[in-house]
């Protein structure tokens, strides 16, 4: 990979802006005073121990979770209870889940074409062509007519990524996309994500795949107890962590 683009944050406009954001589940303070700015084409990796609020943070960005204090502005639109705005933002923000969440009653190509047809109002034929294009891209076109239940985990996750891409999103969120996969399938999914990174997709990735973080991230963030404890370039983050918690976490995860 090209070294400068890796370390240097892209010099572009901000697409996601989170300011002083808090979230509670009942009395439980999951996210505390989160500040985060993501620029276009920027790639961020978030890691941290289980329960630290990583999933909750990225789920707030497309309002699968509702924050209670502070502001989240995505693509110029502030997230409030305005349903139309939420739907608009969701159409621009793709999300890939740990457990794929493909629609089991639809074929692969129908899974992909559904969003473009119903959200983007693209004619069915065109949407299916787009679907096939992205299936080619994730190397799975020959499975187009199968159902999700007939595919391996790695294949399903690649389909899920392709499904998000079909919507031509401006940002992609990944919530531990490889942690439900068998080891031999992790690489095929990471390869797709790396390719996406090279094409300049804006990505926020929750993952413990540190090799991936090193090679594609502009910034790595470490979360603990609902706070962003440390953030740095991958180089600095892995070679010279500042906080005790980060050191402990890295020693556990890197053995």
């Amino acid at each position: 990979m090209n070294e400068e683009t890796k370390i240097q944050r892209p010099d572009e406009e901000v697409i996601i802006e989170i300011k002083g954001m808090h979230k509670w589940f009942g009395d439980f303070h999951v996210l505390r005073d989160i500040d985060l700015e993501v620029r276009k084409r920027e790639r961020i990796v978030i890691c941290g121990p289980s329960g630290s609020g990583k999933s909750t943070l990225i789920r707030c960005i497309n309002r699968l979770e509702e924050h209670q204090r502070g502001d989240i502005i995505v693509d110029g639109i502030a997230l409030t209870n305005n349903v139309k705005n939420i739907e608009k933002i969701r159409a621009e923000v793709g999300m890939v889940f740990q457990h794929f969440n493909l629609f089991p009653h639809l074929t692969i190509v129908e899974n992909l074409a559904l969003g473009p047809i119903w959200v983007r109002k693209i004619p069915k034929k065109e949407a299916e062509e787009t679907a096939m294009y992205y299936l080619e891209k994730v190397q799975i076109a020959e499975q187009a007519q199968k159902y999700p239940g007939q595919l391996s985990g790695g294949q399903q996750q690649r389909v899920a990524i392709a499904r998000s891409l079909c919507m031509a999103p401006k940002v992609m969120l990944f919530d531990e996309p490889t942690s439900a996969l068998d080891p031999e399938m992790i690489k095929e999914v990471l390869d797709v994500m790396i390719e996406l990174a090279q094409e300049g997709m804006t990505m926020i990735v929750v993952t413990h795949e540190m090799g991936f973080a090193r090679s594609v991230a502009h910034r790595v963030m470490f979360m603990d107890f609902g706070k962003i404890v440390e953030e740095n370039t991958p180089e600095a983050f892995f070679n010279n962590p500042q906080h005790e918690r980060t050191k402990l976490f890295l020693s556990q995860i890197l053995h």
Partner: protein, 369 residues
């Protein structure tokens, strides 16, 4: 950097020879052994059942077929030792059509045939398009016209004279097809985030489930008209129809709610995260899956609703069960109730069995592994 190599699908190694799966069942004897005599308990059960069948089946067969009479009058029937199917054959048209004018029986017959044709055509999922809806609407108009008359030179027939099988089919086919979507809406309403809608649905569902269908029919036919202004009457069949729809919908709603609760949260999240709104999420993602899971309990409800249409006798509608009973009150045919009821049972069985058979087929077709 080239990243494609990892994702190329591997070719499976060429098999050296074709190995067929092992044979697990060897002919009739293998089947009998595997299914009827596997273990002492099942062997005993099989023997007991065979003994029981041997005791019951031959006499019944003798009564129903060998000694039976089919096309005689009542007096000849009383002389016969076996079943008197003549009670059904001689009164066939009355049992089926009730008090519908005799010389106009072809009209309800044509309406029923049209209904069967439509049902048969709709079985195939390939035909589930918008055009099918128009086909049904057109079919309904023609059926209504055939039953009512009054247009195109068809003699008008008061709905008070409708009866028999057409009435049973009318009440059940429309009762069930209207109750199903209503039940789905109620289930969605019960899960609504808007408290007004939610409580309305809860109250409705719980109230309806708290009373027997008979009392709803009574209310519809006796109490409800008291509140209508003088001179206005609403067709009795329509009132019974509405009662059946309202009643069945409440039960369907609860089954659908069960199906909705069984859906994984990830399905909602995946749908919402690509910007689908509530209605599209429900229509495209959640309901197709939830309704599929609940096919078996739904069909149970539909089958019992079909049979419950026979309760309309208590508000003096002549459905097929009532026309059969009426035959038995004729002195000539008095006392032949087993034959008549067996006949009616067969009619109901055909209806119920085709529903459950169709539902099993649908489940198979919708199975996506």
């Amino acid at each position: 950097m080239k990243t494609a190599d990892a994702t190329i699908e591997q070719q499976p190694p060429e098999p050296e020879e074709d190995i067929r799966p092992p044979v697990t069942q060897i002919g009739v004897i293998g089947w009998v052994r595997a299914n009827l005599f596997n273990g002492w308990f099942n062997s005993v059960l099989t023997l007991v059942t065979l003994y029981g069948l041997g005791k019951i089946a031959p006499p019944f067969f003798r009564w129903a077929f060998i000694d039976s009479v089919w096309l005689t009058d009542g007096r000849a029937c009383r002389a016969a030792a076996g079943a008197c199917w003549s009670v059904v054959t001689s009164n066939f048209r009355f049992i089926i059509f009730g008090f519908y004018p005799y010389e106009l029986h072809w009209r309800p017959l044509a309406a029923m045939l049209l209904l069967f044709a439509l049902l048969f055509y709709s079985r195939d999922r390939k035909h589930w398009k918008k055009s099918l809806l128009y086909l049904w609407i057109g079919g309904l108009c023609i059926m209504g016209l055939l039953m009512r008359g009054g247009l195109l030179g068809l003699e008008p027939v008061e709905s008070t004279r409708w009866g028999g099988l057409p009435l049973t089919l009318l009440l059940s086919v429309f009762g069930l097809t209207a109750a199903y979507p209503l039940g789905v809406l109620l289930a969605l309403g019960r899960q609504s985030r808007l408290p007004g809608i939610r409580y309305l649905c809860i109250v409705y569902i719980e109230m309806i489930r708290g009373v027997p269908l008979i009392s709803l029919l009574f209310m519809g036919s006796i109490i409800f008209p008291l509140f209508l202004p003088e001179g206005i009457t609403i067709n009795k069949i329509l009132r019974a129809q509405v009662a059946i729809i309202l009643f069945t919908a409440a039960y369907i709603a609860e089954v659908v709610r069960g199906g909705l609760q069984g859906m994984a949260k990830g399905q909602y999240e995946a749908a919402e995260s690509m910007g689908l709104n509530y209605f599209l999420t429900m229509r495209l993602i959640i309901l197709p899956q939830a309704l599929k899971i609940i096919i078996p309990p739904t069909v149970s409800i539909l089958i019992s609703a079909f049979k419950d249409t026979s309760l309309v006798v208590i508000i003096a509608l002549f459905d097929v069960l009532k026309t059969s009973q009426t035959v038995l009150s004729n002195p000539e045919w008095m006392g032949f109730s087993p034959e008549v009821y067996i006949f009616v049972a067969i009619l109901y069985f055909l209806g119920c069995f085709s529903m459950s058979g169709y539902s099993r087929r649908l489940e198979r077709e919708l199975d996506t592994g």
